[in-house]
Symmetry: C2
Subunit: 252 residues, 2 copies
């Protein structure tokens, strides 16, 4: 069971789109995928068609019980989810100062039956107890970014945060950066891509996720890009990302 | 002194770009503008060319002293800033449970000398003590959004949060929605714009901020869009937004 946290303190870079689309691409290859939605906005939860009956993943994390009891199937074949709800906004206050608060998720995941080969964790762009838990529990962190100055500045600082987590909580944490929402013909994209390749030769994925309107439309239909537009560049790029993730299992 | 908080729990919708560009558009009209950067990512701070000597706005909010002492001029003419630093990430823990923690900023702003006609507050996409302070202190909240399903879902929930703040902390809080990063020719844009106009006839700004590469490039030069590309559609659209803000002072 490979655990990948999808994270970046910069907003709107494609964390949720990458979580759901990569999950769908892996499921297309026959993998069993579990999404943990740790974002109180619950974008991944809504996208995968879930109506959450109770408090979702908030309950095993902050109240009682097994992670397993919060898991439900989604409208995406081969993909299950432990859904988010707005209750997650209270996690910070509830877990504050509690013993072992930063490794709660890690312990919950250890008790999961091995039904899934991949666990993908979507996170909010906030340096809080939920993100720390997701980084402490992961085998690797996948960092979507845009080829924009404002995003690159945040990326550099975020990598320092990851280094701290590696030192204090998770020595084996791998990292990988993937360029998303990419407008390849824009000069800023080419310039920043050149700089990213120079600065991060072993952690930048070769796969770029190009800007594709189909990725914007898919959530309205509660379908993954694979279901909604199987031949779109969005679908192709996320299949290529899944392929690269497999080949370079060392990268992440 | 008009206080406008720029906020949305959705990431990457243009909060920072709107804060800095609107500040520049108002300054171009001769207004004196103060930016408060309440986002630990400090994107607005970096964009306006600031090297922060100490802890910035974190100090008057969480340690001691006057808001005034943290204010510095920027590389943008007519625009000053109380800058952010990563220290702001600790605000939640420090202010937790303190008496009057939610209206700290409101009280600090009351003591500011009336040098500035506008105060624009940039925020992170997180429902935390800093955002609550910014909403409690404001005359109006300006909500940038994209014409994307994932963003619209968050917008609807965020408006409920604003309603709560209005009930408990700030009865006079006005609100306005502005569409940003808009690709006008995309079908999802036209469909969602029609729905937004129907659902929010009095709170949606008529001005739309179109997608413009110049807005992505400007931060690399530490220049506002007005300085960097005065005739670009990005500059035109933010001038139009400033004009509409003036004309419809009742809206925000
Ligand atoms: N490759 C792409 N092409 C076009 N649009 C995209 C692409 N990837 C994501 N988007 C759109 O961009 C917006 C931001 O993407 P997304 O919500 O996945 O980012 P995020 O990092 O999860 O945001 P947040 O920080 O708010 O959680 C969404 O509306 C999404 O539909
Ligand atoms: N009108 C526009 N046209 C093109 N690009 C834009 C436009 N507005 C913003 N951008 C770019 O989109 C990205 C997101 O914008 P911005 O950082 O201002 O959003 P934000 O809501 O402040 O994000 P966060 O939630 O991370 O604070 C930035 O890289 C910015 O340069
Ligand atoms: Mg997201
Ligand atoms: Mg911002």
């Amino acid at each position: 069971m490979k655990i990948i946290t999808i994270a970046n303190l910069k907003g709107g870079v494609g964390k949720t789109t990458t979580t759901v689309s990569l999950a769908a691409a892996l499921a297309e290859r026959g993998e069993k995928v579990l999404i943990l939605d740790l974002d109180p906005k619950a974008n991944a939860t809504d996208w995968t068609g879930l109506k959450v009956a109770e408090r979702g993943i908030f309950t095993p994390l902050c109240e009682y019980g097994k992670l397993q009891d919060s898991i439900q199937p989604t409208s995406l074949q081969g993909v299950d989810i432990a859904p988010a709800t707005e209750w997650l906004s209270n996690a910070g206050q509830i877990l504050q100062g509690k013993e072992g608060a930063q490794t709660l998720l890690k312990r919950r995941l250890k008790k999961l039956p091995p039904h899934w080969s991949w666990v993908l964790i979507d996170t909010a762009p906030a340096l809080d107890i939920l993100l720390i838990n997701a980084l402490a529990a992961a085998d690797g962190v996948l960092i979507p970014t845009e080829a924009h100055m404002l995003a690159i500045e945040v990326l550099v600082k975020f990598l320092r945060t990851i280094r701290l987590v590696r030192t204090r909580l998770n020595p084996h944490l791998r990292e990988g950066i993937v360029l998303c929402r990419a407008e390849l013909r824009a000069r800023h994209t080419q310039e920043l891509l050149t700089r990213l390749k120079a600065k991060f030769p072993t952690t930048l994925f070769a796969t770029l996720i190009r800007y594709n309107t189909r990725l914007i439309e898919a959530p309205s239909f509660r379908q993954s890009i694979m279901q909604y537009a199987a031949n779109s560049t969005g679908a192709q790029d996320y299949r290529a990302l899944a392929e690269e993730l497999f080949k370079q299992r060392g990268l992440l």
